[in-house]
Amino acid sequence: MRRAAAALRRGWLRFWFEPSAPTNLAVSRIVVYAPLAVFYAVHDYAIWGRVSPALYQPIWLFRTLHLPVLAPATLDVLQTVWKVSLFTAAAGLFTSASCALTALLGVYLIGLPHNFGQTYHFDAAIVFAFATLACSRCGDALSIDAWIAGPSHRGPSASGEYTWPIRLMWVTLSLVFFAAGVAKIWTSGVEWVTSDQMTLLLERVQYHISDADPVTNWGSYIARYSLLPRVLAAATMIIETTYPLALLRTRARPFIVLAGIGLIVGIRLLMGPTFEHFLLLNAFWVPWDRVGAWLRLRVRHGASVIDRSPIHV
């Protein structure tokens, strides 16, 4: 029993804190923040201060913390600070403060629209990413801060500090998919796959009922067949419920992660919901240090020499 507990503890510590170089976390910071900075730059959150209180239906977080809908002028200031902090976080300038601002202001600004009518799910994991990066040392490499500090002030070459934030995002993504799969099983059981529900769902979303319309009308073509929607339903449920297996040291990890990406893309194409920026969080799965090493090798050997060794994820 004691041996099992000790092994469990060792496994826990190895999973979360196995020392790693700062590169993967630093690149993930850039890959997540830079596109989101551009994406949110054109979003206006101040408008929510002008929407009638008649439409206000506060979500748990705002109700519990008594967070008000601030005046448009105040929201304008907050969103300006937030948008600037997204760019500075991406660049690694005042990284700790920038990431803290993206998280603190982000949870309020990103959460604000969910108080009006419906809670969408496409940006909740982004909030967790901001919180995780805010508590991490993601600015220790590939940042303006690190460049200003110079080589003598850089952090350790390998540390658990650079591992746990990445692993926490792995777990967060796994929980998102797993939750969606479990919700389907608990709510509808095997009928979710065997009934006509996917056929009906693919047709229903053509009626402008989603937050955005499906990119294509292929759903209606798929719905013509009896078996195809059921195959899609089964694949969806399998991908969602087995996604946490990607947390294990397994060669299947890249395939599981790619299947998750495929599912999100499929949802956008066939059903509508806009999970595009959720896809950015897959940056945490990529072993950027190995990608970098592979690219350096290619550059060193010249473009004509093709290195056939695979990158293990």
């Binding site: 979360w16 929407v51 439409l55 419906q118 608990w186």
Partner: protein, 169 residues
């Protein structure tokens, strides 16, 4: 050597990391197990419920033009910052609350006023409207939504007209 030091971390940072891990994992597992939603935590219930009939009932906003024509308003630009899903679902929730007629009226007025202000500012290309009507619309679902413009039933839930436009008529 402590666990924290073994992994190149201070004890404080080690505790902070564990606190965040516990919060994210614990909160997520709680919502999954309790089938609840505490944004940003969620049990991600979208699409979990199965539909057993080909009847689709959906609250939809129709704009009323000066000549009395009704047009469904679904474009994001026209409903901004709300949208074709958030707004009708929110309105339906308000409608289902007892004694909410004044509130839903106010909500519709707000949507209409913003629509007109944005149209006059050239921020969307929708037609000029003098009113909005909220219907509960029923379709018998067809491939490619071929009957989108011809639902089998429409039940008026609420409506609002712009006073100055009505007075001018």
């Amino acid at each position: 050597m402590s666990s924290a030091a073994a992994f190149g971390m201070s004890r404080l940072r080690f505790v902070l990391a564990h606190a965040l891990i516990a919060t994210v994992v614990g909160g997520s597992l709680y919502d999954i197990a309790a089938r609840m939603e505490h944004w940003p935590f969620s049990n991600y219930p979208m699409f979990a419920e199965i539909h057993r009939t080909d009847l689709l009932r959906w609250p939809r906003i129709y704009g009323v033009t000066r000549d009395g024509t009704e047009l469904p308003i679904v474009s994001y630009r026209e409903l901004w910052p709300l949208d074709q899903s958030r707004l009708p679902i929110g309105l339906r929730a308000i409608y289902n609350e007892p004694g909410s007629s004044a509130r839903i009226h106010e909500a519709l007025r707000d949507v209409l006023q913003r629509y007109e202000q944005r149209r006059e500012a050239g921020e969307h290309s929708g037609p000029a409207l003098v009113g909005l009507r909220l219907y509960l619309v029923t379709w018998e679902v067809e491939p490619f939504a071929r009957n989108l413009a011809a639902p089998s039933r429409r039940q008026l839930l609420s409506s609002v007209m712009l006073e100055n436009r009505v007075a001018a008529r």
